[in-house]
């Protein structure tokens, strides 16, 4: 897959499994990818969550997407964005967030990952690992 195909795969399968390191221990949970394009992958969470605090302390993450025997892993350092327009846009497109942020967006964490991706598929399990900058 090239960069465009990888971004299309993530857009079509937006639930990734985001790994962080908490001190020495690995952590992983499902995470909704709000957008995947030339500018990186955009995620959102609550600043009160452990995952946000882990990323604020150690921004190295890896996100794994898997669908129909194809796996895409994206790794890199995640950045915290304070972009009121983006927060507003995310909440406008995710109804379940509205009750949490109707008074203030302060507690909302938005993050961007501009990383490198590696792909794997069941059809070609022995292909060498290569990385594509996203």
């Amino acid at each position: 897959m090239d960069k465009k195909e990888i971004l299309a795969f993530i857009t079509a399968n937006p639930i990734g499994y985001l790994g962080t390191v908490d001190d020495k221990a690995a952590r992983v949970r499902g995470m909704d990818t709000f957008r995947a394009d030339e500018n990186g992958l955009i995620f959102y969470t609550s600043k009160a969550k452990n995952v946000f605090q882990q990323m604020a302390k150690n921004p190295e993450v890896e996100v794994c997407y898997f669908a129909k025997g194809t796996q895409v892993r994206v790794r890199g350092k995640i950045e915290i964005l304070e972009d009121p327009a983006l927060k507003k846009e995310i909440v406008s497109k995710r109804d379940f967030l509205k009750p949490m942020y109707e008074k203030s967006y302060d507690g909302m964490g938005v993050l961007r990952l501009k990383g490198k991706a590696t792909t794997w598929s069941m059809q070609d399990m022995t292909a060498p690992t290569t990385f594509i900058d996203l």
Partner: protein, 136 residues
Amino acid sequence: MDKKEILDFITKNPIGFLATADGTTPHVRAFGLYRADENGIIYFTQSAKDVYKQMMKNPEIEVCYWANSVQIRVAGKVKPVEDMEMKKGVLKVAPFLQPQIDANGWDFLKLFCLKGKAYVADMAAPPGAPKTWVEL
């Protein structure tokens, strides 16, 4: 969910996302399992894989399962398992490993056990609410 329900859920939805820490860098990949029961969750991999080397260096892992809007995370330390009968059982469910075992011997196939604690996500809980863990 109680312990039995969690093990049933994992058995029915056996593809998890297994995270390791390579120093301060996390890695995550989809991962099948051999068995999930009272004795722990048994996984298998190959000795040449990065994931195997990462776990031998730092056994603190977490595996995330997800199905029908339910997420279960299992965290703990993995232990290597040496059990020839179990390796033969793994080969039955993963016959694609045969050429590697023919070429490299049985030691190429590595088994490990996660006896951890599980956290079932409660979507209704407010952010930052304490998590309830179930010992598996």
